[in-house]
Subunit: 290 residues, 2 copies
């Protein structure tokens, strides 16, 4: 084994995001040991058995002082409390990053709770499918070729940003940078809103008396449109609340768009419908996920 | 070759729907010859080369009188004119079916234009993906295991319904029956509305200055949600107009649903959001396309 670049990594939350991070860095042979913390003892045991972590942590003071890198991979709703608990124990050189799907709120918690350690907290959002969750869903190659967005802070030490970027790149990710506000506006539009819309469609159908008849005729278009409605309700509740302002803007804008379509349809304005559908089709047909 | 069950089939529109119908029945070895009609000479030539049809038709009077089965697989927008043109030439025993995605409008045209031949016109809607189109997209197995909905009419002769059902079953389809009105209400909810919503999202993003930035961060959730926004604008314009009343009802209902979500989000009502997402998730996770 070559000299590890991260002698000790501590992961809070050893599910899909945290577990895959640990697996990828162990696979890259750049980590000495991985210590896992989490709220579920069973999940931590499972993570041990799956080779995700080397040890289950029990004492924050013991584990954090000499950690090279800490990943916060809990639901965003737990992150403020977690920061309060870890802040007193972080070593002077310990890097911290996270895997939260929203960034303005995480940055706000960090400013409130991490104090001077803000210089070494580099927020991150790995863009990796999240329909599955749990340690069993973690994969060595989850981040391979996927995007990870860093939202560095003005307070960040340059070497902290470089090292955190390196960690995610060692996971196989393509790392880019946005401000936290840019990040949240972008993801409200291309991720959070579609999730809300997909949940809304299924919820609308779910309440009908003839629900089973309707669903029996749903086909591949419905299947793909609603795939994300099978995502974790708790996680998406938290994301929606955390990114509420940007998401409300997007939702209002979308409802206006539907108003335009409603009017065109009510007036049987075939030209208007075709114009809208054609622009959408040309943009969608020329887009491929990166 | 066994005795063909359909000595002569005439297909109007030899693209994905009509071409796949012809290919499947030829593969099942139950058809003597397939004659194709269409507006594009190039498409008809291509259909010949691909083995979809045996001959290109040129004279309706010659081809329709002794046809066992006629499939109308043109866009629904052309179907009224087509019925006017074929009605005088249909043989007394010639069966007619169609492949339109909406049914109330097609039935209305048939009542207006097919006269006494209504007894042998059995409307059908094959539920088969339509992102692709054209003769080159036609496949022998397009209907294999897929649903086909018949919407028989009170005027239909029982043997006509049975024979048309048999034709679609020979294509490998699972055939079920609804009234035209039931059909249109069901598909407004599970197909037409999702298409409209998917087009609306992409159209909304397409108009932004930062469109390229937004799309560069869109991932697999966006990919699946918007897959159907790459569908044919002309076809979906026609479907939306044809099924306007049912679709307006669905759209109004969906906008109300979004209003509820907007309010829950504005009030940061995490419980309400989780309730909506949870019901949607449980329904979606327990559904599989048939």
């Amino acid at each position: 084994m070559s000299q590890p670049q991260f002698k000790k990594i501590v992961v809070f939350g050893v599910g899909l995001i945290g577990g895959s991070f640990a697996l990828a860095l162990r696979e890259a042979d750049v980590v000495g040991e991985v210590v896992g913390f989490g709220r579920s003892g069973a999940t931590l045991q499972q993570a041990m058995q799956l080779g995700i972590i080397n040890r289950i942590g029990s004492d924050l003071a013991v584990e954090l002082g000499d950690a090279d890198l800490v990943l916060l991979a809990t639901p965003v709703g737990q992150m403020a409390d977690l920061m309060v608990r870890i802040a007193p124990h972080l070593g002077a050189l310990t890097l911290v990053t996270d895997g939260g799907s929203t960034k303005s709120d995480v940055v706000e918690y960090a400013r409130a709770h991490l104090g001077a350690h803000l210089a070494r907290f580099v927020p991150a959002h790995p863009i990796a499918g999240a329909e599955q969750s749990g340690a069993a869903a973690a994969r060595t190659d989850l981040y391979q070729g996927k995007k990870v967005v860093l939202t560095p802070l003005p307070e960040n030490a340059p070497d902290a940003v470089a090292r955190v970027r390196q960690a995610w790149e060692l996971c196989g990710a393509a790392v880019s940078e946005l401000t936290p506000q840019q990040h949240d506006a972008v993801f409200a539009a291309v991720s959070h809103l579609p999730h809300l819309l997909s949940y809304a469609l299924v919820h609308d159908l779910a309440q009908r008396e003839n629900r089973d008849l309707l669903l029996s005729f749903a086909a591949s278009g419905f299947r793909d449109f609603t795939r994300i409605a099978a995502s974790s309700p708790e996680m998406w509740r938290d994301i929606c609340i955390a990114n509420r302002d940007a998401l409300l803007d997007e939702l209002a804008r979308y409802m206006e768009e539907l108003g335009v379509l409603y009017e065109a349809l009510a007036e049987a304005d075939a030209g208007k419908l075709e114009e809208i559908f054609s622009l959408a089709r040309s943009i969608r047909a020329n887009w491929t996920p990166q």
